[in-house]
């Protein structure tokens, strides 16, 4: 049993948890992050990566809209390498209520969101694949944000400032010391190691999973999980965020995310007991495709790479448990006040857009309780990778001899940190993932610096296996590199190869037709027909258990 003492514990490695860890670290508070799986593997990594301008919320929820536009402006400064300032459009289809258009303009004005009417022809020039039958178009400052990179950058910054991070480590119990939560007992899910960590304050940032966690401390917290499903298209079919100009509904948004486009989302209630086993239903896929085609007709011709879903963490406020008072906003709970349990606070609700604000609120309260720490600086301190704007053309020149596609992709993913990753030694820029241009150097960097413990984690840091082939060639190569760089034993590598392919399969099988099916037949042939991976028996694994 390992025992660690620190000032603050953050539970949950989503954007909010990572943001809180960073915020505390920036204030000089020693903190530890515990995440049961990988950072950004829960709700954070399961949305469409839209950097909201707030326009989407302006008509229904002015407060959220205002939070969004304010955070939008901050994130564009501090997280520029995680963001693409694409701009966004709201387009009205012939079947949509034309009055929403005017309402949106008006409410955007109230919220302080720049929203300008542009001509249909201008909209089609900006976005040539748009349905040519649209009636009108508005331009808003939407953009895209990569949740994996954002969260990872927060964690990296915190670690560089002295914080510790335990991924794949589950909190089994919140340890009580009388009426105080004094620490946590947790278990490393990969090694089985038990760890006890004690701190002056525990921040529960575990989102929808917080209900279970609080129960272990005898505190009731009520979540109302709602499932949102999305589809990933093989390549970019749009360059700007395309929103449908109507009361928010299913399949309203198409977001260009890095090399792909995403169609989102649906909204379905799920039982709390089922939050770890939700899947995308066939009718959701049909709805998303149908709505997507209405916005961008070429959706029908493109390959759907994956379908995935996340759980929105809506939380009941003020202790009422009947669900009438569900908040879509940010909820910060001081359990000392609410439940007479000291040393524990919960930060929940909100959205990816407001993760920094939520972290600030949580850290403010934590510092007040600890009677330590300086003022918040996260709104003006850039994340690692965003320290300076890096020009693509100059980088290409700097890395002469390395293909533009490789330099550009690395730069896009890691911003200013590209210089810690690429160098002219050939091994370093040998391609491992050929769809997304991930080099051996980038993998080495991720293994050594970015809390990567298996290939699935590696995917979130680098995009390995996220392209059209979904890991056919690169998964095996990556498994080999784990051994080469001493990040895993041979046996662990074989095992994580299975886990990775099974994880990819989860998202592919709902959309298994056309080229996706051909791709799977090919991939299955390689890994089972040629390699016999399914026949490998992991005895050492079994012994450990």
């Amino acid at each position: 049993m390992r025992r660690i003492e620190t000032e603050a514990i953050v539970i949950g490695g989503g954007a909010t948890g990572a943001g809180t860890l960073r915020d505390l670290s920036l204030r000089g508070v020693r903190a530890v992050l515990i995440e049961k799986s990988d950072i950004a593997s829960g709700t954070t990594g399961r949305n469409h990566g839209l950097l909201h301008s707030g326009a989407r919320y302006a008509v229904n929820d002015l407060e959220s809209a205002r939070e969004c536009i304010s955070e939008n402006r901050i994130l564009k400064k501090i997280a520029r390498h995680c963001i693409e300032d694409t701009g966004g459009l709201f387009v009205t289809l012939p079947e949509d209520d034309p009055s929403y258009h005017g309402k949106l303009i008006e409410h955007c004005r109230y919220a302080g969101i720049r929203c300008e009417e542009i001509g249909v022809r201008e909209a089609l020039r900006m976005e040539p694949n748009l349905n040519p039958e649209i009636l009108s178009a508005l331009r808003v400052p939407d953009g895209t944000i990569d949740p994996f990179r954002l969260t990872s950058a927060n964690v990296l910054d915190a670690q560089e400032r002295g914080a510790s991070v335990f991924t794949h480590t589950e909190v089994e119990e919140i340890l009580r010391d009388g009426d105080r939560a004094a620490g946590v007992r947790c278990r490393d899910r990969l090694t089985g190691e038990k760890i006890e960590i004690y701190a002056g304050i525990i921040v529960n940032a575990s989102g929808v999973w917080g209900q279970r966690l609080s129960a272990s401390a005898g505190i009731e917290l009520r979540m109302f999980p709602s499932k949102g499903s999305m589809l990933i298209i093989d390549y970019r079919i749009n360059n700007k965020v395309v929103n449908r100009c109507r009361v928010p509904s299913d399949g309203d948004i198409i977001v260009p995310g890095d090399t792909v486009s995403l169609i989102g989302t649906t909204s379905k209630k799920v039982d709390y007991d089922r939050i770890d086993e939700i899947t995308v239903d066939d009718d959701e896929i049909a709805t998303l495709l149908e709505s997507g085609e209405k916005l961008i007709p070429s959706v029908s011709r493109a390959r759907v790479l994956r379908a995935y879903c996340g759980v929105r963490p809506l939380i009941a406020v003020s202790g009422e448990m009947d669900g009438r008072e569900i908040s879509r906003g940010i909820v910060l709970i001081d359990h000392e006040k609410r439940d007479a349990v000291g040393g524990l606070i919960t930060i929940a609700g909100g959205k990816l857009m407001t993760y920094r604000l939520m972290a600030e609120m949580a850290a403010d309260l934590a510092c007040a309780k600890l009677k330590a720490g300086k003022k918040c600086r996260t709104h003006r301190t850039p994340l690692p990778g965003s320290e300076r704007r890096v020009d693509q053309a100059r980088s290409v020149k700097f890395f002469t001899g390395i293909p533009n596609s490789v330099v550009g992709s690395t730069l896009y993913r890691h911003g200013h940190r590209i210089r810690n990753i690429l160098h002219r030694e050939k091994r370093n820029y040998g391609l491992i993932c050929e769809c997304e241009m991930v080099t051996e150097g980038e993998i080495e960097y991720a293994l050594k610096k970015l809390n990567v413990r298996d290939i699935v984690d590696l995917r979130r840091r680098t995009r390995i296996g996220m392209g059209p082939c979904q890991g056919q060639l690169c998964a095996y190569r990556a498994a080999g590199l784990f051994v080469k760089y001493d990040s895993a034993t041979s046996d662990e590598s074989n095992k994580m190869l299975v886990d990775f392919l099974e994880e990819r399969w989860k998202g592919i099988k709902p959309v298994l037709w056309g080229d996706a099916l051909r791709e799977v037949e090919f991939g299955y042939w390689i890994y089972q027909g040629l390699f016999g991976l399914g026949d490998v028996r992991f005895e050492e694994e079994a012994e450990k258990r």
Partner: protein, 402 residues
């Protein structure tokens, strides 16, 4: 900006077989291969044109990747179109001259003796090498005096007298350099009781496409489609070309690469040996005299892509006395104007090296191939003379010496 006409890259399942069969990737590792230059990075270029790699310029557009692809991805088309979609326009005078074959031809044929004389002089070669980056090793095809069209005009009436006729697209090479091949086409078809209607508006566009003059290529293509369609409609005839690359362009590049509607000519257009072979099969076989020749046949890439090689082989097999060796199908490396550029010259020769070796091993009296640029390349790189299959056939008909 995204234009989603050619989205065949979406069908790529990353099997990598195209790269195995790419002659350029084999010859130089400056070129990362068709998969990476084509479907892989096309996704990235759609995201941001800044992710364009210079290295894709090494592609010769031989289309062997497309033949190899089990997913019907138009790999070479993707790479070719990237050249003009994403790169800045080339302002090199050399590329302009190489691209505008008909312009150059119509000027040069007026003073062909002079041009042919000068272009061979070592100082001129050195000058071209230094200032135009045309490698001094490269030999130029000779220009003819006057044009093939001018010759044809004198014979038009007799050709129109035939009951069955075919519309013939001679292409720049026959029109400006090698009238004899055009005359051989007439000899062969006339022997089969078919008259030849020559229809030639403009260069087919292959060199324009290769050098990025895409608007010009589209203009030429539209003119050609219209004039050929009109000529064919008038006489109800089929359209033929004796250049494998011209026919390939008219049939496939117009449609897939230039994204033009060529359905007016698509079905009626044949490469000449297909046309002849089909008629041979129907019994229209002229009397053939023995040629007594040991020949090696090289199949050009674009004919391979069209699936026309077997027609040429079948036609050649009909020629009595022709001792034919079929060479293993390989790219000769010249790829039209590619081999005329100093930066690609070495690659071009390396691509062809295997073919040259095989020719030498076969040690024929002549080499036969359907493509004029393959002819230039082989004649320059080996001691062997190269003839067009139709020429060999014509000699078998008229008994002339080869």
């Amino acid at each position: 900006m995204i234009r989603l006409q050619n989205i065949s890259f979406d069908h790529c399942i990353k099997c990598t077989v195209c790269t195995v069969y790419c002659p350029v990737a084999r010859a130089t590792h400056h070129f990362p291969g068709p998969k990476q230059s084509g479907p892989d990075t096309e996704r990235l270029r759609i995201k941001s044109p800044e992710l364009l790699d210079e290295s894709l310029k090494y592609c010769t557009n031989c289309k062997r990747c497309e033949i190899a692809c089990p997913s019907n991805v138009k790999i070479a088309d993707i790479i070719q179109s990237s050249k003009w979609r994403y790169f800045k326009k080339s302002l090199r005078p050399r590329d302009f001259f190489l691209a505008h074959t008909d312009l150059m031809g119509s000027v040069a044929t007026r003073a062909s003796l002079l041009v042919n004389f000068f272009i061979k002089l070592p100082p001129v070669k050195l000058f071209l090498d230094l200032f135009f980056r045309i490698p001094s090793e490269r030999r130029f095809p000779k220009y003819a005096r006057g044009s093939f069209l001018a010759w044809y005009k004198k014979h038009r009436a007799e050709q129109e007298a035939f009951a069955e006729r075919a519309v013939y697209f001679p292409g720049c090479y026959v029109n400006y350099n090698n009238h004899e091949l055009g005359k051989d086409v007439v000899t062969v078809l006339n022997a089969m009781n078919i008259g030849v209607i020559v229809s030639y508006e403009k260069c087919c566009g292959v060199p324009l496409i290769a050098n990025g003059y895409i608007d010009r290529a589209r203009k030429n293509a539209l003119l050609n489609i219209n004039s050929l369609a009109a000529s064919a409609a008038e006489s109800g005839a089929r359209i033929i070309s004796a250049s494998s690359s011209c026919s390939f362009a008219l049939k496939h590049e117009y449609r897939n690469l230039l994204e033009l509607d060529n359905s007016a000519i698509f079905d009626s257009l044949d490469y000449i040996t297909r046309f002849i072979h089909e008629r041979f099969l129907k019994g229209n076989l002229p009397e053939l005299k023995p040629v007594r020749l040991r020949a090696a046949y090289h199949s050009p890439c674009h004919l391979e892509r069209m699936g026309g090689v077997m027609n040429t082989i079948e036609v050649l097999k009909k020629i009595p006395g022709l001792d034919l060796t079929i060479l293993h199908s390989e790219c000769c490396g010249i790829a039209g104007t590619y081999g005329f550029k100093k930066e690609y010259y070495r690659v071009s020769q390396k691509v062809g090296a295997e073919l040259f070796k095989r020719i030498e091993r076969a040690d024929p009296q002549i080499v036969i191939t359907d493509c004029e640029t393959c002819k230039w390349q082989i004649e320059m790189s080996t001691p062997y003379r190269v003839e067009h299959p139709v020429t060999v056939l014509a000699r078998s008909i008229d008994g002339g010496k080869l």
